[in-house]
């Protein structure tokens, strides 16, 4: 067993390399820069490629281009950079090109509060790019979980042929923790399914029976096909309005219909809870500490932590809403995930929000006060 002291951003690169990352394109921005720096050091050592592009937009484009040749590809950014990624993120979604986009969040809008922590990109991760689409976004809460979730982000992107967003907190990204590096038999690596048919028979965007997504040929392997951001049919060529509904529906359904596979979450002391806190990332660690103290004083409180925040673990949240008297969504923003939790749980129980916008972590004692107020008030 290998044990290391590792920073969150470092764990992200280590996880990516373990998943098979062979290409990274990025642009410097705090608090994500270490991910680019470490990728620049490590990738050429394993025959991979690193390039610092001229901006965030081109980084996202280069990542998609590299992935089309078969390389597992990643980019990382923060706040304003994530806004710039959105254009080509949408391209990756419609053209179904696997890649991983890391956003180490910072306070916004705009240049905002560089580079204090915030959890303000929850809705941008879901709806940042224009048009209807489904999103996969993962939200780890420890250095070890960053390692694991980076591997998972690659796996999900390969399996579902879509960009996967990894939302990190500045606090976890820059924190150092002891981590146990998993053995080979403890991790799963998924690679995209490649065509077995001849190039003549290949339809680049046809989903074969029993498959979730089309088989994906690497550019330069004899399968000469067309990739476009336009609405296209199963051949990949522009098809116009008559094919739009079927395409967009398929792109949404391939994710929404597979929530049981995609969604992971943690339940903490919920069995007998009257009050459930919903929290993710660094905030969930404050919540856990608060719950431990509150339990010591006899308060029946627990936590539901979505690790996959998009698609949201709807079934689990709905079940939870039927057995608790109140849900408090604690997040470092003005109530973004609250909107989603309230949509799912609001018809069955009282859903409240507790947030902040000052670039500081929500400490356990504040959560303790909020819960006590809810209990006694």
């Amino acid at each position: 067993m290998t044990i290391r002291l590792m920073q969150g951003n470092e764990a992200c690169v280590e996880g990516a390399l373990r998943a098979g990352m062979k290409f990274y394109a990025g642009y410097p921005i705090t608090p994500s820069t270490e991910i680019a720096e470490i990728s620049a050091i490590e990738l050429p050592k394993v025959g991979g490629k690193f390039i610092q592009m001229e901006d965030e937009i081109s980084s996202m484009g280069a990542v998609i281009g590299a992935s089309l040749t078969g390389l597992k590809s990643m980019t990382a950014t923060s706040g304003p950079g994530f806004s710039l990624k959105q254009e080509n993120l949408g391209y990756g979604i419609i053209s179904e090109v696997p890649c991983v986009v890391v956003n180490v969040q910072r306070g916004g809008p705009s240049t905002g509060l560089p580079t204090s922590p915030a959890q303000g990109d929850i809705m941008q991760a879901k709806w940042g790019t224009h048009g209807d689409h489904a999103t996969i976004a993962l939200y780890p809460n420890s250095v070890r979980e960053i390692y694991d979730m980076t591997i998972r982000a690659f796996n999900l992107s390969e399996k579902y042929r879509t960009p996967v967003i990894l939302l990190l907190d500045e606090i976890i990204g820059h924190m150092r923790e002891r981590i146990e590096i998993p053995e080979d038999d403890e991790i799963e690596i998924i690679d995209r399914k490649k065509p077995t048919c001849s190039p003549d028979e290949y339809k680049a965007y046809e989903v074969k029976e029993g498959d979730i997504v089309p088989e994906m040929a690497d550019f330069g392997t004899g399968y000469r096909y067309h990739v476009t951001g336009l609405v296209h049919d199963e051949t990949g060529f522009p098809a116009g309005a008559t094919k739009a509904e079927a395409l967009i529906r398929r792109l949404i359904d391939k994710i929404e219909d597979n929530k049981d596979d995609i969604c992971t979450y943690e339940e903490y002391m919920l069995d007998d809870a009257d009050i459930a806190i919903v929290a993710f990332g660094c905030t969930s660690r404050s919540a856990k500490s608060a719950i431990k103290s509150l339990r010591g004083e006899g308060y029946k409180v627990g936590m539901f932590r979505p690790i996959t925040i998009w698609p949201s673990p709807e079934k689990q949240l709905e079940k939870l809403s039927k057995r608790v008297k109140r849900i408090i969504v604690v997040e470092m923003n003005d109530g973004q995930y609250f909107l989603e939790v309230d949509r799912i749980a609001g018809k069955n129980t009282l859903v409240e929000k507790y947030g902040r916008l000052n670039g500081e972590i929500i400490p356990p004692h504040e959560i303790i006060s909020v819960v006590k107020e809810a209990y006694n008030g």
């Binding site: 062979k22 290409f23 394109a25 050429p44 050592k45 025959g47 490629k49 390039i51 592009m53 001229e54 901006d55 937009i57 081109s58 980084s59 996202m60 484009g61 280069a62 990542v63 998609i64 281009g65 590299a66 992935s67 089309l68 040749t69 078969g70 390389l71 590809s73 254009e87 080509n88 391209y91 690497d218 550019f219 330069g220 392997t221 004899g222 000469r224 096909y225 067309h226 990739v227 476009t228 951001g229 336009l230 060529f237 522009p238």
Partner: protein, 274 residues
Amino acid sequence: MASTLVKEYFREDKLPHIWCPGCGNGIVTRAIVKAIDSLGLDKDNVCIVSGIGCSSRAPGYLDFNTLHTTHGRALAFATGVKMAKPELEVIVITGDGDSSAIGGNHLIHACRRNIDITTIVFNNNIYGMTGGQYSPTTPTGDKGTTAPYGNLDANFDLCELTKGAGASYIARGTAYAAKQLEKFIAEGIKNKGFSFIEAITACPTYYGRKNKKGSAVDMLQTVKESAVMDKAWDRLSEEQRQGKFKIGSFHVEAKPEYTEEYKKLIASFNKGEE
């Protein structure tokens, strides 16, 4: 002859193309295909990348690995493709607005890196797809739907721009002199580094109509009469140059190519193991 070319290199079932009658894009596209044919490139090893606009629709008609990307970003995607798989011959098809307005930053940085990509700009001096707005190459004073009183902007000389930015092969040809354009494109593809070929073409539908340039044939005739080979250009006075532009292969420079340099970096880590 033409039909063999179409059979071999075009996706016949995707034709006819969307371009207007009289558009020069077909001539430029043919020159690209002829250049590829003359070099005997393997279709499986050619990747054609484009952005958004009239010219950027060309890859859809061509039987290669084709990538139709977002507006202005063709070179960004192409850089990823080339870095990831340097053995691919990467060609970018783009327009004047696509390459030098929204994609201007990507253009200068691809030049600076001298990455082995051949870029062909279909310069028709206007945004055609959106209906005739002025572009960075619309001559000052000319009209567009967003320059109803004449364009106040100074226009780019894209060959000077790319020279300043570090491209290692630069040429300008025209849709009139298609044979010569084909030669420039072939030279560009052969060059190990960033090659930039500006193809002057005509948009009779928008630029022509807005600026009373006559028919498609008249416009090609004007292109022919205005284009002056670089050696002859050097002998012209400032006055004689008015209303004309120079063509030719202006700049060839041997310098380190980006993916080759990266290959050396990777090799430096393998030394100990050999």
